[in-house]
């Protein structure tokens, strides 16, 4: 089989068109800048005698119009490529661009549905709905959701297994035909990497890896930062001084040195991640308990039937995840042991406890746990400082004074008066921070810290590809661009959110 061309059957028509739009855009931009320097300005509105407004368009306006239409035509051509890839049956006609576009079909459908529904109901959706009034925010949201849906539908998008090796296709260029494997997808769309794995499938699966860790790590960093930042800002005093010192201590640590010290097999063997996880993960549970208790203090039945079970469940989850310890099994075996006093059941108790996996709790592999914990550890001091700053600002407001006069407890004020009013900046920072966490995870992967060498995550794929970068540029390029677009999307989304939340 012949290798695929980039643009397939549509190429002869669309390629010159796209090239033309790029040239038009570039020339118009250059001319526009020259005109601006010369002193020509875009048209100002003119109020006519009959109270209508008109514009007398000059050369700079035509340049701007040309740039605008060049962008539209370019995007239109890109859409036609993708549609062509979906509609045309033969792989040769689709080309690489078309075939990749067709592979992402479920993602496109999900994106279109999300956007149509959101725009339809945007007036009823609060801050999220307002995002759709903002072009930059919408573009960012689209980029983020593209990768979110890719992560969700990764199983349908991939063409090969992320660790399937076809040794004949080592470092083969994009569009190479797969021969000798029955039933497999007939092409390596974006080529093969140094071991003969499909670059495209690894990039898609990498999205799943990144998007399962980054948002959760950011969420935990926020929980830790909020739990410590609220009392530090609100109460001040020794506690504040101490925690601020600790936060500055962590911030003074170069991130990369910390990663190199923490994310090693030796540290995992010494059990450090478990201690750190024990310390960091207990804070969110305390946060949930205080949150519920301070609100429903006066309603004992809610405390008894809602708050206590939720917190107990979280505690079980915590013990099961961090310590791999299930108190139920432990109590049951102890009870049976107690009933059989005098009989030799000690050994039976031990083996039973070993044999039962905790019912609630996730078995996190040591490598993953240390990556997760270090990312939370690095992020939470910054969140702490942001929260503390916000609290210092908000606690002087009248509604806080009103709550104090009402005789509310300080935790109630912190969690139910101050925190909701700090949500705007926190949401914006949350988006930014997911992006930053993604970069950190990529850094870890780039240095090969804490990741399985087989893992398709973007950082380690870039790292593998960089050795032969100048000869075979195609393996590290897709993950690099993927990481770039996702972080850029998150940044644009945060920017849009900030702009919209400042409007009211």
């Amino acid at each position: 089989m012949d290798p695929l061309t980039w643009s397939g059957s549509l190429g002869p028509f669309l390629n010159p068109l796209m090239l033309g739009t790029v040239v038009v855009f570039g020339v118009a931009l250059a001319l526009n800048i020259v005109m601006n320097i010369v002193g020509m300005r875009p048209a100002e509105p003119i109020v006519n005698a009959d109270h209508t407004i008109s514009y007398r368009l000059g050369a700079p306006d035509y340049m701007l119009l040309a740039m605008k239409y060049a962008v539209f035509v370019f995007l239109g051509a890109a859409v036609i490529y993708i549609l062509g890839g979906i509609v045309q049956p033969s792989m040769q006609a689709k080309g690489i661009i078309g075939a990749v576009g067709a592979q992402f079909l479920p993602v496109w459908i999900a994106l279109i549905v999300t956007f149509v529904v959101s725009i339809k109901f945007k007036r009823r959706l609060g801050l999220y709905g307002k995002l759709f009034d903002n072009l930059v925010g919408m573009i960012g949201f689209g980029m983020v959701m593209f990768w979110v849906f890719t992560a969700i539908f990764a199983g349908m998008v991939v063409t090969h297994g992320p660790i399937d090796v076809i040794s004949g296709l080592r470092n083969d260029p994009p569009g190479s035909a797969v021969t000798g494997v029955d039933g497999a997808f007939p092409y390596y769309l974006l080529g093969g990497d140094g071991l003969g794995r499909d670059v495209f499938s690894r990039m898609v699966m990498g999205a799943r890896e990144v998007l399962t860790i980054a948002p959760f790590a950011t969420l935990f960093a926020f929980m830790v930062g909020i739990t410590l930042g609220l009392p530090a800002g609100y109460m001040g005093g020794r506690f504040d001084t101490f925690i601020t010192f600790l936060a500055n201590l962590v911030l003074a640590f170069p991130v990369i040195l910390l990663f190199y010290l923490l994310v090693t097999p030796e540290i995992i063997a010494a059990g450090v991640p478990v201690y750190m996880a024990a310390l960091l993960f207990v804070l969110p549970i305390g946060f949930v308990w205080v949150l519920l208790y301070s609100r429903y203090r006066a309603q004992p039945h809610i405390i008894k039937w809602v708050a206590v079970p939720i917190v107990l469940l979280l505690l079980l989850f915590y013990l099961g995840t961090v310590f791999r310890f299930d108190p139920i099994v432990w109590l049951a075996t102890s009870f049976i042991g107690y009933l059989n006093q005098g009989n030799p059941v000690g050994e039976w108790m031990e083996t039973t406890r070993q044999a039962y996996e905790p019912l609630i709790g996730i078995n996190i592999d040591g490598n993953l746990l240390i990556v997760f914990v270090s990312v939370v550890f690095v992020n939470s001091p910054t969140v702490f400082r942001i929260v503390r700053g916000l609290v210092l600002d908000i606690k002087t407001r009248d509604y806080v004074a009103a709550a104090q006069t009402r005789g509310e407890g300080s935790w109630y004020i912190m969690l139910w008066e101050i925190l909701p009013n700090a949500r705007g900046p926190l949401i914006v920072d949350f988006c930014l921070r997911i992006g930053y966490t993604t970069i950190l995870l990529g850094t870890l992967g780039f240095f090969g810290l804490g990741v399985d060498p087989e893992s398709p995550n973007w950082g380690s794929t870039i790292n593998e590809g960089r050795r032969l970068l100048t000869v075979y540029p195609h393996p590290p390029l897709p993950p690099a661009l993927a990481l770039l677009t996702m972080v850029l999307g998150l940044n644009l989304l945060a920017d849009g959110l900030r702009e919209e939340s400042l409007k009211d």
């Binding site: 030796e266 950082g459 770039l484 972080v487």
Partner: protein
């Protein structure tokens, strides 16, 4: 002011002590020492031999005592072997216990011995720091002016088309970590098979096969435009966006101030308003950001030096950490911590100095 600086220096020393102790603790965990013994001694040592090896080299005593020795506040260990040879922390080859000093640690200016390079740490760190210093210096001299110009152009007319374009560019630059931009730059500018180099070479516009060199190893002896542009660009790009955004925010805020409006109403030209009235006040906030950017760049330096094979400070950090070279790692963390804390101190003092409102109150 004097008291303020004194307090800050006190906190700085305390922070440095805490941080080095954490590094000391983490590098001296039992599995790390075992790894050290096996890499330095013999990979197939038995557990008893490992213990013996560590015993002979003074690693098996309490952590705090050894930290004190490293600092130079506790006397260094000495040991007389069964055959009469004397060894100890402060004893160089061929010395006896009586001849050697009792204390040798940080306070005595002795940074210790690098187990990987088999050389004194002080010999290694200095040269490596100088190499990284060049990289940082050139990167800063590209990054700061570029960022300030972008930020001022964007901030002087908030909401204009220029502002939106430049803001998006700076957002894009903050979203491009070094390992992505470095890879993209190498592919675009330094690959003999892809990017623009083959095309340029075909037309005979460049002498070599590539526009820039993808490895900066030769820059360690001789820095040229050809071998040093890519690492500098890579570092500058990531930091640039952040400084530009801060400058833009500060500039936009200043441009809405009353005195700028007064100047406009008096008929001062826009150019003069920006250059003479707004700029000075708008540059206070970016100054702080630029200073705080230095420690941030450290991560970038490590990535860039690894990517471009430039054996500076960052590269040494990677080597020391992956080989658990304890004393080299400690010195590196000391240097890093000093850099971070000094820049914080300078940015605080500079902020107070530049901003008369704070200085007077």
């Amino acid at each position: 002011m004097g008291l303020f600086i004194l307090r800050r220096v006190g906190v700085m020393i305390l922070t440095a002590l805490c941080l080095t102790f954490i590094v000391f603790f983490l590098t001296n965990l039992a599995p790390n020492l075992e790894k050290l013994a096996k890499t330095q001694g013999n990979a197939r040592m038995s557990d008893a031999e490992v213990v013996q090896w560590l015993d002979n080299r003074g690693y098996s005593r309490p952590l705090l005592v050894r930290y004190g020795e490293w600092l130079g506040v506790a006397p260094g260990w000495t040991r007389v072997a069964d055959d009469g040879t004397e060894s100890g922390r402060c004893i160089d080859f061929g010395m006896t216990i009586a001849e050697s000093p009792a204390f040798c640690g940080l306070f005595q200016g002795d940074l210790g011995y690098s187990t990987v390079s088999a050389d004194d740490v002080s010999n290694i760190v200095g040269g490596r720091l100088a190499l990284t210093g060049w990289l940082m210096l050139i990167a800063f001299s590209v990054m700061v002016p570029g960022a300030l110009i972008i930020g001022i152009l964007a901030g002087m007319k908030e909401g204009s088309r220029t502002d939106r374009t430049l803001s998006t560019i700076s957002i894009a630059s903050t979203a491009t970590p070094e390992y992505v931009s470095g890879v993209l730059f190498i592919i675009l500018l330094a690959s003999s098979t892809a990017g623009i180099s083959p095309w340029l070479a075909e037309n005979g516009w460049i002498e070599g096969r590539t526009l820039f060199l993808g490895s900066s190893r030769s820059a360690m002896d001789d820095i040229t435009f050809w071998n040093f542009s890519l690492p500098v660009m890579t570092i500058a790009l990531y930091g640039m966006g952040y400084i530009a955004r801060m400058t833009r925010a500060s500039m936009a805020e200043v441009m809405t101030a009353q005195y700028i409006r007064t100047a406009r109403l008096k008929g001062v030209s826009f150019r003069n308003i920006v250059m003479k009235h707004a700029l000075r006040n708008a540059l206070i906030a970016p100054f702080t950001v630029i200073m705080l950017q230095i420690p941030w760049l450290l991560t970038g330096v490590v990535i860039v030096e690894t990517l471009f094979n430039y054996n500076g400070f960052g590269w040494t950090l990677v080597q020391a950490a992956s080989n658990n070279d304890i004393e080299l790692l400690l010195s590196i963390s000391i240097v890093a911590v000093i850099v971070v804390l000094t820049t914080q101190l300078i940015s605080d003092i500079g902020y107070v100095y530049l901003n008369p409102r704070i200085r007077i109150s």
